[in-house]
Symmetry: none
DNA sequence: CAGCGAATGGAATGTCTGCCTCATTTTTTG
DNA sequence: CAAAAAATGAGGCAGACATTCCATTCGCTG
């Protein structure tokens, strides 16, 4: 047996960063095909982690046997051991963000003091942003923006918890010189305001469970007038969804009984600025 | 052949979250061994992603064939397709938090379409949350909460961009049955409202550059009446800071000319709920 | 340009994979 | 409690897998 040599001085990189450094270090001295794989491996680490030797070799444009030689040259005893390093990287990377969030949440739930409360809200907001970033339907977004961009006046409809979002939308639309009307309950003239809306206009309606009855009623009325509605709500069973031309499902995390608004805010701003861009793009002009 | 049934109505979950929801949904109705695997899968998703059918079955304490039946019951055509979902999850979540943010921001700046705009706002919000989580001064938070908890009425003062935050604070304070007064400009009676404030009350004032002159003026007036002020603003040179008893410096990231509100929102909620807790803790009661 | 060692391609190999089948056990139903 | 249905266990099979081996090509050096 002459395995001694292997165990003697060859230090096998066990973590991805070391491996990466090793590869970059030897880059010059590697044979052509091996270098080809090295480049491919650092560029597409996920493929190495999940692919088979054959599939990786094919997408790197080499023979499977070369891939194995590459692994062996780095001190591994085969492709499989090399792959372990790439897989370990994904395992560890993955946990970092979630762990951070979990830690925050744990601190929020376990810990005392007001810092804990603050952490709870930060965690809820982060979670919500994370979720919406994954689940947002791009087609819905495009459709909603087109719809709103065509509107003469954009009516913004929201009560209670959702009202802050509506007021920010109204503020942003105003800054972008897009004609809009915020429907607030203060003056008690909602019915009259809604009466002005025509099918040439559009509505952004926001409501979450428990749905403010006034919002639902007003959405119903306005939809019966043939005005298209973009709804932001929390489930496809929401009463808002049935009146809506396009609707978004936003799941906000909550803390201490108050749901985050961060995901809804991000979506609201994307809609607003999206409409602004679209109008500028088509040369359409609006005065405040 | 009776495969028709499968292709007909069974909707196969393609992303991890949907899959997770589906499993949790059917949890009750699953056979014992299948449930055993379901639990193991949700607890050790990484193992499912990387292991072989045999190794996973062993560590879940079942037969490999059961694992395959589990996958089929969910609508997949075999273990391999189920595994794809677990692998996709790792691919998408793969990068560390910072890298993910960078990627989002790059996509937002480079990319076209409205998804890019959305990503930009999500990135801005995440960055802001990240920043405030690092920089928030805990002592300031404690001091602000004590100050507000002692107030008879909490006045909330903000205009324009900061107004949504103020309206959410007012909403939350209301739900917590804490007496508060939102100072909005609509009725034009701000001066009179402010006149009611006494040193036994307190103010939450929010303003960011460019500072709304009305907010500054009102803050000045109210501080001259001896009312303590908690300010949320963006720099210690802010005109708001000089009137404030306690102030928070919040740096919000911006995108497309609109700053995020997420960090301010999180702080605002922490203050609000903090006050609520403190009052309940000291047995102090308030009526709406 | 001949000679030689390293590098490479491609097929062969034995192992292990996922998945199917069928016998057995458990649960449900009448 | 019997019969039927569902769930489970275990062995077997075809195919895919990583790896090895050997013939061929490439890139030196003299």
């Amino acid at each position: 047996m002459s395995l001694d040599r292997v165990t003697m001085d060859e230090r096998v990189p066990r973590d991805f960063e070391t491996l990466r450094a090793t590869i970059l270090d030897r880059r010059e001295s590697l044979p052509k095909r091996i270098a080809q794989i090295a480049a491919h491996a650092l560029d597409n680490p996920d493929d190495i982690a999940f692919g088979t030797a054959a599939s990786i070799a094919a997408s790197a444009g080499v023979q499977p046997s070369t891939l194995i030689r590459f692994a062996q040259q780095l001190g591994f005893d085969g492709f499989t051991s090399l792959q372990q390093v790439f897989r370990e990287r994904l395992r560890e990377r993955n946990s970092s963000y979630d762990e951070r969030l979990l830690a925050l949440r744990a601190k929020a739930e376990g810990g005392a003091g007001h810092r804990a409360i603050f952490d709870g809200f930060v965690a809820a907001a982060s979670t919500s942003l994370n979720d919406i970033s994954r689940t947002l339907d791009e087609a819905h977004l495009e459709k909603a923006v087109s719809l709103l961009a065509k509107a003469e006046t954009i009516f913004v409809l929201a009560k209670r918890r959702s009202y802050p979002v509506a007021s920010y939308i109204a503020y942003a639309l105003g800054k972008l010189k897009i004609r809009n009307q915020l429907i607030e309950s203060a003056a008690g003239l909602n019915a009259e305001m809604i009466g002005f809306a025509t099918p040439a206009d559009a509505v952004i309606a926001i409501s979450f469970s428990p749905y403010a009855p006034a919002t639902i009623e007003e959405a119903r009325t306005i939809s019966e007038q043939g005005v298209p509605i973009v709804a932001i709500t929390d489930s496809s069973f929401s009463p808002l969804a049935q009146f809506a031309t396009v609707w978004f499902e936003v799941a906000e995390a909550d803390f201490a009984g108050f749901r985050s608004l961060s995901a809804t805010m991000a979506l609201a701003m994307a809609l607003t600025v999206g409409v602004g861009e679209k109008r500028r793009g088509t040369g359409r002009k609006r005065k405040a």
